[in-house]
Symmetry: C3
Subunit: 336 residues, 3 copies
Amino acid sequence: MPSTTWNRHHILSLTDFSPVEYDAVLQTAASFQEVLSRRTKKVPTLQGQVVANLFFEPSTRTRSSFEIAAKRLSADTLNFAAATSSMTKGETILDTAKTYLAMGTDIMVIRHREAGVPNAIAQEMDRLGVKVSVLNAGDGQHEHPSQGLLDLFTICTLIDPTNPRIELLKGKKIAIVGDILHSRVARSNISSLTASGAEVHLAAPPTLLPKLFAEYFAEETTQESISNRQLFLHWQLEPALRDADFVMTLRLQKERMTAHLLPSLREYHQLFGITREKLRLCKPNVKVLHPGPVNRGVEISSDLMDDPEFSLIQAQVTSGVAVRMALLYLIGSGKV
Amino acid sequence: MPSTTWNRHHILSLTDFSPVEYDAVLQTAASFQEVLSRRTKKVPTLQGQVVANLFFEPSTRTRSSFEIAAKRLSADTLNFAAATSSMTKGETILDTAKTYLAMGTDIMVIRHREAGVPNAIAQEMDRLGVKVSVLNAGDGQHEHPSQGLLDLFTICTLIDPTNPRIELLKGKKIAIVGDILHSRVARSNISSLTASGAEVHLAAPPTLLPKLFAEYFAEETTQESISNRQLFLHWQLEPALRDADFVMTLRLQKERMTAHLLPSLREYHQLFGITREKLRLCKPNVKVLHPGPVNRGVEISSDLMDDPEFSLIQAQVTSGVAVRMALLYLIGSGKV
Amino acid sequence: MPSTTWNRHHILSLTDFSPVEYDAVLQTAASFQEVLSRRTKKVPTLQGQVVANLFFEPSTRTRSSFEIAAKRLSADTLNFAAATSSMTKGETILDTAKTYLAMGTDIMVIRHREAGVPNAIAQEMDRLGVKVSVLNAGDGQHEHPSQGLLDLFTICTLIDPTNPRIELLKGKKIAIVGDILHSRVARSNISSLTASGAEVHLAAPPTLLPKLFAEYFAEETTQESISNRQLFLHWQLEPALRDADFVMTLRLQKERMTAHLLPSLREYHQLFGITREKLRLCKPNVKVLHPGPVNRGVEISSDLMDDPEFSLIQAQVTSGVAVRMALLYLIGSGKV
């Protein structure tokens, strides 16, 4: 492992991550990526520690990724799924977390459909003066920091596999396309990508773009000084894609349809779905990312998703394990 | 580990536990409590053994506690949850247990909503002449021995952390408050506490006190010789709390409301909920226990639950892991 | 472990298993059966490898058997259950499998209610040029190869515990009784038993016998040369049982009743249920098998199921762990 100075105890949000912290995660994940290619893929780093996956919202993908990361570090894992839990018995979330604390949990990986739950649990742990770390695995429409970091790692290792670092993204144009409004993935990515010096272009139908970012509308900001601008909003896909180095598509929750935020999946795909043809607007060696699970033929055309020349979707999943090992290592290895 | 002679093969009930057995559990749990404070929290005691958690009734808290205890002892764990099981396919419970036996399970930890299921499985294992041990993790309204033992351990280690033993409770007054009628926790605690020489006072509304114990009514027993009496029943909270050293509140199943056994949660809290004010009746350094999960503001006021001066609730959860390690160790280490 | 040459990468079906392959599985399983009787039941063979149990159809028994087999080989296990998965989010099955591939899974154990799903996943893995192995843990009404192999192992080790091999079954008469039509267990067993040289007699009510096998009807084939015939069909139980060495009963899905394929469970038991009395038709030392879970009093009388003189049902479950260890070992040990 690289000798990094790491002082962050919980990982809740990327909004206040420093360049040094981003690089520490990237470098540590690169070391673990190398471990994963060895015959013996396990390291004894977290032996005897307990990582509890407290998933108040169901998720197979993220939960399995954290579970495998923890096991590769030789930690013991506990899985908690809300459906089979005491939650139905009226216990508060903080009480559930404190129960896992009292059982000897060292790291809590928390997913919840309400924004702010991981923060609330982390605050409670700090208030109690205990050493437990909290890792936000997705909270409502707020943040999904490990996803933001694995996307960053995926892009940076593509550019320089041996030495990924955020300065590699300086001046790159990255489009984020889709349901920005409801996406915790988008929020975390906007933080990491703008911090890395990339130019981030958001594209979505008006109903799926957050009003919060209205000031960033590309079309309406000619009057102000935009020398340092890194974030741009578009109601159309084309200006976001033009000369893009990377295109991140977001998962479309089909529930949005019933909420009348979208006309039809077909029309959405026609306007905002990523296809081979639309990619011609981008740089020639453009790559496409998606946090998964993918609705094939909606956010991205099915053939493009499977094309290794363009798709980084599988690489993202693999990066996910290495990045989550890095995060567990960085917040966990100083324990006890 | 202390060198104890342990002959009990299954742990099904506390009614016939001997003082020597209680002390063996307390001493062994104390050793494991010490292990849990070390950097390497695992011991290789049960390496290669399989602990199957057969939870026919859902439970996160107890299942996680047993799972973490088994993993700390280096056992492999199997989790069975009724919801996803063959039970829906019409298999009998004994057949399910025998399937896990045939797969090589060494210890079965069993929870079931029917009283007597762990006993029936243990009898079947004995009849088959196999070495598998059965541990009752709560059966209907019958017993929850590991909860009774962890409560005992929590109290005894508070009095003497280095040498917990049941004689420490001689002459202590302990109030058990709430839904005694339906509580397997109460049943197990009554056994362990009376065995330890404590004076146990049960307090509940008439509808939640078992008729079985009617002879123990404090108010109606003046005529008989009660020199050796240790168990007292009360329809009011006050006489139970007066000069109590420990107060155990029980979880109130909200289903009881619909069964017309209770007027309202609010009235219940007013009459039997433990509050800072009501604790003034007790000894000055009184402590409060609750098996969890807690309905805050019902069985106990929210602020009192979080007050480390009075509440042992977190300590109980921590004791739970040490005590369950002790139980798995005592019944499991002689195997093979 | 015996030094076998094993070239099969996936285990999807028994239809094309060679005698050499059957014997390799039997010999390897016998070695692991011996390991399981030792004090230390674990071997480090698959340390650092990840076995993902992707159960798109719920199953406790088979999932636990594979999980315990993987853990005995020191592999890390991931459990995926469709109910709590992204499947509800619209992801395709192949995409789910590729996600687990990208996370670093080495062996995928797959159960699905649709026939052909494990094959489709295996083909995709091969197309991608990756080393992941796929093990069919039951697909629709197609195959359940590990069950077929464990039944074979159970029978062969009964005949020669130290050296199980398929030639031991040459000339043995084996009856398979029950819902042949819908049974993947029957399909896999027909392959393995006929390959071993046994004479296989299927008996079922007409509605539960596959038309596919009509040519094998015992009663209608007197005219043709049947010197090499090994497979016989019967609409009655008696001719199948007469002088049988082994009787395999199949689980009766109670749903068949509602589909009007059966008159009543009682009548089914009267006609095709295995009882002590009906066994008098068989060889004196006949043994009965059932893949479980058993409907007592339907496929087999309750007392017979528990009689160790006749019932191999517990032995099958134990064999299951040894055989699954063998399969994971054979397809997994050459990895990395």
